[in-house]
């Protein structure tokens, strides 16, 4: 078993606390609903209703209802005109700032893949029809990926600069990781971070065209896995210098202790089968935290349920960690792309808080080639102090964050 705490890991400058969080996903709106769904092993994937999928192989996704998005502060005539992604960001900021109204970020780092893509589609379809274009200025203005974040910030009277990371499906974890490094370096005291993505026809059809998505159930790490389903949602985290957070008496949900990023140049959409990209990202996260593989109690895997991803990630996990328990939240809610890493980090926070191993549902048969310790179908209690969350994306981006339960 590889050890990383004796490989010259960089000495941490500042410790980084998570002082507040917000999440919305098919698992529910808010941390408490999310935890309840994890405990109940809920399958949140349902037939797609937002656009026509008759000609697609895959016809299901993890979706958030419009009714859920109309609750809370995001309910107004003005916000009804905003993109669904904006309302998702507003929902998670509402939960986050409800927990810690005193949190004043110096910068914001958010991950996404497609921004307000459905507004771009509306605009293009209106152009083709030569009608309905009177709405186009609104679609165009609300399409860019920074817009949902800036609008959500405005709703909470925040005007800090936004860095919007679009590293495909690793975006959310990259955003959290970069925010973590900013606070750890000592240059920043407080950074707001997370990720979002709203499901859109273009992206759905794109994954379908690649035959990456499945007409069946999403079964990560299963011998008979056939692919992913898409999802949507958002999550946000308030990261703060631990000393600063303690000094002002802030609640501390967890501590982020390590981050790794690597680029795999094998192919634009397929990982190197050797698992070298994930292995480097996970190894770097451990090194940066000065931790060894034995310290990790649970891995929230990227686990898309595609043949190639799970094989490469599974190989890397097995080689580095042996039999550590793993699961993929995507089995429950689908793959929410730029939001995935952020939602899964929220799941990791809940796992640490509730001392719970989240489930990998729809699991039937172990893949003998991978031989992994999958948390099959049902969540279960366990002593968990440190968790690792993985996200990998198109373009060969691999990202891992290491999160620790803070001692009482």
């Amino acid at each position: 078993m590889a050890r990383f705490n004796d490989l010259g890991g960089k000495t941490a400058k500042s410790r980084v606390a998570v002082v507040a969080a917000g999440v919305i996903s098919p698992l529910g709106a808010g941390l408490e609903d999310t935890l309840a769904s994890l405990r109940a092993n809920k399958d949140c994937v349902s037939p797609v209703t937002r656009f026509d999928v008759d000609k697609c192989r895959c016809k299901t996704a993890g979706q958030i209802s419009d009714e859920t998005l109309r609750n809370g502060r995001q309910r107004s005539r003005k916000t009804d005109r905003l993109h669904r992604a904006t309302r998702m960001m507003m929902a998670v900021f509402e939960e986050l700032f409800g927990q810690d109204p005193e949190f004043k970020p110096e910068k914001t780092v958010i991950g996404t893949t497609s921004g307000g893509m459905s507004f771009g589609q509306d605009y293009y379809r209106a152009l083709r029809r030569h009608q309905g274009l009177r709405h186009s200025p609104g679609w165009i203005a609300n399409y860019p990926p920074q817009k949902p974040v800036i609008d959500a910030q405005n709703a909470f009277k925040i005007s800090t600069p936004c860095q919007i990371i679009a590293n495909a499906c690793a975006s959310g974890t990259n955003a959290i990781g970069h925010a973590f490094e900013c606070v750890r370096s000592g240059k920043y005291q407080r950074v707001l971070t997370g990720g979002y993505d709203a499901i859109s026809e273009l992206v759905f059809v794109g994954f379908d065209s690649l035959q990456a998505s499945t007409p069946e159930k999403c079964r990560p790490f299963d011998r008979d896995r056939t692919g992913m389903v898409l999802g949507e949602g958002a999550a946000a985290f308030a990261l703060e210098n631990l000393e600063s957070a303690r000094a002002r008496g802030a609640q501390i949900l967890a501590e982020i202790i390590g981050y790794g990023i690597s680029t795999d140049n094998h192919h634009l959409t397929q990982p190197d089968p050797s698992g070298s990209g994930p292995r480097r990202a996970m190894g770097q996260a451990l090194r940066s935290a000065n931790r060894s593989t034995e310290d990790v109690d649970y891995i929230n895997a990227h686990g898309t349920a595609t043949t190639f991803n799970d094989a490469a990630e599974g190989k890397a996990i097995k080689e580095l960690f042996g039999d550590v328990p793993i699961s993929s939240t995507k089995s429950m809610i689908g793959h929410s792309l730029g939001a995935a890493g952020a939602i899964e980090a929220a799941v990791c926070l809940l796992a640490l808080r509730a001392q719970l191993l989240p489930p990998n549902i729809n699991f039937r048969n172990s893949d003998q080639d991978l031989d992994l310790n999958v948390v099959a179908n049902e969540s279960r209690e366990a002593k968990i102090d440190i968790v690792l969350s993985n996200s990998f994306g198109f373009g060969g981006t691999n990202a891992s964050v290491l999160i620790q339960k803070l001692a009482e």
């Binding site: 999928v53 936004c162 679009a166 680029t263 959409t269």
Partner: protein, 372 residues
């Protein structure tokens, strides 16, 4: 902060290469508007395009075989920046180099083509070859593969200010002692769909010239290309301050934030390389400069090169660095007589610093200061 520009690369509608394009800017050249059409409509827009011969010596690489124009522009600029850096600071370790890629509209040509097929013929006709190229980080992925970057690679999305935000991110990344250098690239490709979108947003004019700082604004012309700078510990030009700025919710609020950025960066020995492009941005910058640095020499390359959005701030950084290196600033093209700003003749200037002001069209503004 000891953050320096070790190499630069540039591809624009006025050609490729930092020095050749700079000479043309000093000469007062401006790009020619070319008709941009699409079968979807009879409307014709004018745009500034990168000439075909600017990419003729781009090395062949499997990743570029099907890549879109934006990836080719980025590769050209990135390779040129590294080539210049090698000649000044020596060999560069790709494993200790990060990549930060700034983009606004991304691979719009392939995205449009992909979705067009879906709309016209149904989901079953969607192309699995085109879809991966629609992802914002596809150009960065291609460039990383060409350069052999295996560590950190980030694609940042935003408006015209995204290039400055990318410089800020590079600065933060280089605080990590494990990295030696960071390649910052901004790139964009133009398309009829973008022209139509900006037109409907009342920001585009039908034909050149781009007339900066006019009140009321007369509109911009879209362009394309890429700029790249390799940031390292050595190099003639130093980045001595970066202000990541903030966001404005209404256009009229842009004035306040641009003024605050310029106030933070102001230096009596500095010239200002503005982002003025013929839109509301110009008035925000004009007011800020009049208030904070009224005697500063002011230049914007956008009348000559157009508005390249994701690439634009990198072009400004390169223009600022060239102004410091050559002690010359090109003459502002098509300014109003009554702007109340100092547009010097293209003679020698005495600035030791250059302020890059970047106000985007969609709520972001930021700036940085270079020194030599």
């Amino acid at each position: 902060m000891n953050l320096r520009i070790a190499g630069m690369g540039l591809i624009t509608p006025l050609g490729r290469g930092v020095d050749p394009v700079w000479e043309r800017l000093l000469h007062g050249d401006e790009a020619c508007g070319q008709p941009i059409t699409d079968a979807i409509s009879e409307k014709v827009y004018a745009g500034f395009r990168v000439p075909d011969d600017a990419l003729k010596d781009l090395p062949s690489h499997p990743r570029l075989r099907r890549a879109s124009a934006i990836s080719r522009f980025a590769s050209a600029a990135g390779l040129d920046a590294l080539a210049e850096a090698r000649s000044t600071i020596g060999e560069i370790d790709a494993e200790r180099m990060a990549l930060v890629f700034a983009v606004s509209n991304g691979g719009v040509v392939y995205t449009k083509r992909f979705y067009h097929n879906v709309v016209e013929s149904g989901a079953q006709s969607a192309s699995p070859l085109l879809f991966p190229e629609t992802v914002f980080n596809a150009p960065a992925s291609h460039l990383a593969a060409i350069l052999g970057i295996t560590g950190a690679s980030y694609t940042l999305v935003g408006d015209g200010a995204v290039g400055v935000l990318a410089m800020k991110m590079a600065s933060d990344l280089l605080d990590n002692g494990e990295l030696e250098s960071c390649l910052v690239v901004g790139a964009e490709e133009s398309d009829w769909l973008l022209c139509d979108a900006y037109h409907r947003w009342r920001l585009l004019k039908n034909q050149p010239p781009v007339e900066p700082f006019h009140d009321p604004p007369r509109g911009m012309i879209l362009s394309e290309g890429a700029g790249a700078v390799l940031l390292a510990r050595q190099g003639a030009v130093e980045i001595d301050a970066i202000d990541a700025g903030g966001n404005f919710s209404q256009r009229r609020e842009a004035n306040e934030i641009v003024r605050r950025i310029l106030h933070d960066l102001a230096d009596e020995h500095a010239c200002v390389v503005a982002s003025a492009n013929g839109t509301f941005v110009d008035l925000a910058e004009r007011d800020a400069i009049k208030h904070e640095l009224p005697s500063a020499s002011v230049y914007s390359a956008k009348p000559a090169l157009g508005e390249s959005v994701g690439a634009s701030a990198l072009w400004q950084v390169i223009a600022g660095a060239q102004a410091l290196r050559t002690k010359r600033l090109p003459q502002m093209l098509h300014p109003p007589r009554d702007a109340g700003l100092n547009f010097p003749a293209p003679d020698e200037i005495s600035c030791a610093k250059a302020i890059i002001l970047s106000c985007g069209l969609n709520q972001q503004a930021a700036g940085l200061r270079l020194s030599i």
